[in-house]
C-alpha cells in the first residue's frame, strides 16, 4: 500500500512538473511572453491568433501570475490546448490526432518487435556463453548504439531507397493512392513503413539484448538453476521457465523506462523519413514557432511514457512478490 502511494505521488509530481514547465518556459523569454511572441509574430498573425495563443500558454493581461497559472492548469486538465499557429485555425488536438495513428502504428510495432527479438537473443546469448550470439552481437550493438538513430535512417535511405530502389524514400503513403480502407492503401502504408521500422528496430534492439543477457547471466548463477539442472530437467525448460522468467523482470521495467528514449529516437527517424507522425509535426512546430503545438506534443509524449511506466510498475508488482513486500 505504501508502495502504491509512493508511485502515485511520483506520477502526479511528474505530470505537474511537465505542465508547470510548459507554463514557465514562455515566461522566461526576454521581455515576457507577450512582448517576445508579438515581436516574433509581428505582422504575421491576426489578433485572434494571439488570443488563442494566450489560451494555450495561459497568458492573460487582466490576471496576476497565480490566476494565470490556475486557469492554464484548468485548460490543460480539460484537454483544451488552444489553436495551432502553424496549422491555423485548426485546434492543436485536431492536428495531433492527424499524426498520432501514424506514430502509434510505426513506433509501437517497431518497438515491440525490437523488444521481443532483443529479449530472445539476450536469453539465447546468455544461455550459450561464448557462443556466436554471446561473443559477436553484444560488442556490435555497443558500437551501433553509439550512432545517431537518424543517421542510421539516412544510411538506410541511401542504400535501400536511393541506390537499390527497393523502398520509398519518404512519407507515409504514396500521394496517388487514396486514403481508404482498401488493400491497395494498406499495402502501400506497410510498404512505406518497412524502412523506418527497420531503422528503429536496428537502433533500439541492442539495449534489450544487453540488458536481458546481463540479467540472465546473473540469474543463471542462482542455486535454483543448479537445482533444476541436478533434477535433470530439459535445457529448454530451465532456460525459459526457470531462468528467463526471473531475468525478464528488470527488462520489463527497462522497457517502460526507456520508452521515452525510444520515442525520442523514433521522432528523429520520423523526421528523416518525412513520416507524417508526431516527430515530423514536432519539427514543423519548432520551425513555425508554433509553441502551442510544440508544448502539447511534449506533454502528450510525457503522459504516454508515464502511462507505460505505470503499467510496467503494476505488472512488476503483480509478477514479483518481492517488490510488494519491500513496500
Amino acid at each position: 500500500m505504501r508502495y502504491l502511494v509512493r508511485r502515485l505521488e511520483f506520477f502526479v509530481v511528474t505530470l505537474w512538473a511537465a505542465l508547470t514547465l510548459n507554463f514557465i518556459l514562455p515566461r522566461l523569454l526576454p521581455g515576457g511572453p507577450e512582448v517576445a511572441l508579438l515581436t516574433r509574430f509581428h505582422g504575421r498573425i491576426q489578433p485572434a491568433t494571439i488570443k488563442s495563443l494566450e489560451v494555450a500558454l495561459g497568458i492573460r493581461n487582466d490576471q496576476n501570475a497565480i490566476q494565470q497559472y490556475l486557469s492554464y492548469m484548468g485548460n490543460m486538465l480539460r484537454g483544451d490546448f488552444g489553436v495551432s499557429l502553424g496549422f491555423y485555425p485548426q485546434r492543436v488536438s485536431h492536428v495531433i490526432m492527424l499524426a498520432l495513428p501514424w506514430t502509434l502504428g510505426l513506433v509501437g510495432t517497431a518497438t515491440l518487435i525490437a523488444f521481443l527479438l532483443g529479449t530472445l537473443i539476450g536469453i539465447l546469448g546468455a544461455w550459450r556463453r561464448g557462443g556466436i550470439l554471446d561473443s559477436v552481437l553484444p560488442p556490435i550493438f555497443v558500437v551501433t548504439s553509439a550512432f545517431p538513430y537518424f543517421w542510421i535512417g539516412l544510411i538506410c535511405i541511401l542504400v535501400f531507397a536511393i541506390t537499390l530502389g527497393w523502398f520509398p524514400q519518404a512519407f507515409g503513403n504514396s500521394s496517388e493512392v487514396t486514403s481508404e480502407l482498401s488493400w491497395t492503401f494498406i499495402s502501400d502504408v506497410l510498404w512505406h513503413s518497412i524502412l523506418p521500422a527497420f531503422t528503429i528496430v536496428l537502433t533500439s534492439i541492442g539495449g534489450w539484448i544487453l540488458t536481458m543477457r546481463n540479467n540472465m547471466i546473473t540469474t543463471l548463477a542462482e542455486d535454483y538453476i543448479k537445482m533444476a539442472r541436478a533434477k535433470g530437467l530439459s535445457p529448454t525448460r530451465i532456460m525459459f521457465q526457470y531462468a528467463a522468467r526471473n531475468a525478464i523482470l528488470p527488462n520489463l521495467v527497462g522497457f517502460a523506462m526507456s520508452l521515452g528514449f525510444v520515442i525520442s529516437g523514433a521522432l528523429l527517424v520520423e523526421i528523416v523519413f518525412n513520416y507524417p507522425g508526431l516527430g515530423t509535426f514536432l519539427l514543423q512546430a519548432v520551425k513555425n514557432e508554433d509553441f502551442s503545438l510544440m508544448q502539447t506534443l511534449f506533454l502528450l509524449i510525457t503522459v504516454a511514457v508515464l502511462l507505460a511506466v505505470m503499467v510496467a510498475d503494476f505488472l512488476t508488482a503483480w509478477l514479483d512478490p518481492r517488490t510488494r513486500e519491500r513496500g
Binding site: 511528474t14 553484444p138 551501433t144 545517431p148 539516412l154 547471466i217 520515442i263 528523429l268 523526421i271 511514457v305
Partner: protein
C-alpha cells in the same frame, strides 16, 4: 535501462574496494583499462579525436567555411572526401568539426556528472525528507522524455549558441547517474570506515569529499562516459534539426546542411555519411570504455572461453 545490472555491478565493486578503500584510486582504473581490449580501442579512438580537436589548423588542408571550390565534387587527391553542395571541402570541415563535438561531450559530461554526484551523494548521505525529495526530483527527470524536452528548451532559447546546447544536454542528462550514485552511496553509508570518520568528529563535507568519493571513483568515471556518449548523440540530434548554431562548425551542423541541401539525392552522399561516422566513432569510443568498465567492475560479465 540496465539499471539493475548496474546495481549488481556496483555491489561487487563496493565489496572489492571496501576491502582496501585507500587503494581504490585512479591507478587501478588506469591499469585495468589498458589490460582490456575494448577499453584500449576506446582510448585510441578518443586519442585520435583529441589530437584533431587540438590542432585542426595543422591537419586540415583548407578553410572549412570557404565556399571556393566546385560544388559536389567526388573524392579526389585535392579533396579527399569531395566537396559539399556549397563548394566547401568536406575533409576540412570534418577535422574542424571535431573540436566542438568533442568539447560538448566533455563539458556536458563533466557538468552532468558533477550534478549527479552532488544530488545523488547528498541524497543518500542526508537521508530522511531531503532524500525523499531529491529522489523524487531525480525520478521525475529520469522519466520525462529527453528529446522532446530538449527540443522545447532549445526552441525557446533559440540562437543561444553552444552554452544553451550544453545546458540543455546537462539538464536532461544528469538524472540517471544521480540515481546510480545514490544507490552506491547508500550502500556505503554504514561502512565502518565512515563510522570511524564520524567518531573522529569530521564534518559531513569532509566525509563526503575525502571518504565517500574516492571509493566511488570507478562508478563516477563510468558515469562520465555514459553522459559523454549521450551528449555526443543529443548534440548531433539537436544540431541536425537546426537547433544548434548553424554557422558553427561541428559534425551535427554538417549533417544539418547536408540534409537541407538534399545531399543524398544530389550526388554528394559523403557529406551526410562521414560526419555521422565520426559521431558514431566518438560515441563508440565512450561506449566501449563504458562497456569495459562494466566488465572490470563486474567480473561475471567478462567474456568467457567456451567450455563444455
Amino acid at each position: 535501462m540496465g539499471l539493475d545490472v548496474r546495481l549488481v555491478a556496483d555491489q561487487s565493486a563496493i565489496q572489492a574496494e571496501a576491502a582496501r578503500p585507500e587503494a581504490g584510486g585512479l591507478h587501478i582504473v588506469g591499469r585495468a583499462l589498458l589490460g582490456n581490449r575494448k577499453a584500449l580501442a576506446g582510448v585510441i579512438i578518443l586519442g585520435i579525436f583529441l589530437v584533431l580537436a587540438i590542432i585542426p589548423g595543422m591537419l586540415a588542408p583548407y578553410d572549412p567555411h570557404a565556399q571556393i571550390f566546385a560544388q559536389t565534387l567526388g573524392p579526389s587527391r585535392e579533396h579527399l572526401l569531395g566537396t559539399t553542395g556549397n563548394g566547401q571541402d568536406i575533409f576540412s570541415q570534418l577535422i574542424w568539426g571535431t573540436r566542438e563535438s568533442l568539447a560538448i561531450a566533455i563539458i556536458a559530461g563533466l557538468l552532468a556528472t558533477g550534478i549527479s554526484l552532488l544530488i545523488g551523494v547528498s541524497s543518500a548521505y542526508l537521508g530522511g525528507l531531503s532524500d525523499h525529495v531529491l529522489s523524487l526530483v531525480t525520478d521525475v527527470f529520469l522519466v520525462i522524455p529527453t528529446l522532446p524536452l530538449m527540443i522545447v528548451l532549445a526552441a525557446y532559447a533559440r540562437n543561444g549558441g553552444l552554452a544553451v546546447l550544453i545546458s540543455v544536454i546537462v539538464v536532461t542528462g544528469w538524472s540517471y547517474g544521480a540515481r546510480q550514485l545514490r544507490s552506491q552511496a547508500l550502500s556505503l553509508r554504514n561502512r565502518e570506515f565512515l563510522d570511524a570518520a564520524r567518531v573522529r568528529g569530521e564534518r559531513s563535507g569532509y566525509v563526503i569529499v575525502f571518504e565517500i568519493l574516492p571509493t566511488m571513483t570507478s562508478l563516477i568515471v563510468a558515469n562520465f562516459l555514459g553522459v559523454a556518449l549521450y551528449a555526443v548523440l543529443a548534440a548531433a540530434g539537436l544540431q541536425f534539426i537546426g537547433l544548434g548554431n548553424p554557422s558553427d562548425m561541428s559534425w551535427g551542423t554538417m549533417l544539418f546542411w547536408a540534409q537541407n541541401n538534399g545531399a543524398l539525392n544530389a550526388g554528394s552522399p559523403l557529406w551526410a555519411i562521414v560526419p555521422g561516422l565520426c559521431i558514431g566513432l566518438l560515441g563508440a569510443a565512450f561506449a566501449l570504455l563504458n562497456y569495459a568498465f562494466d566488465e572490470i567492475t563486474n567480473p561475471a560479465l567478462r567474456p568467457v572461453r567456451r567450455r563444455r
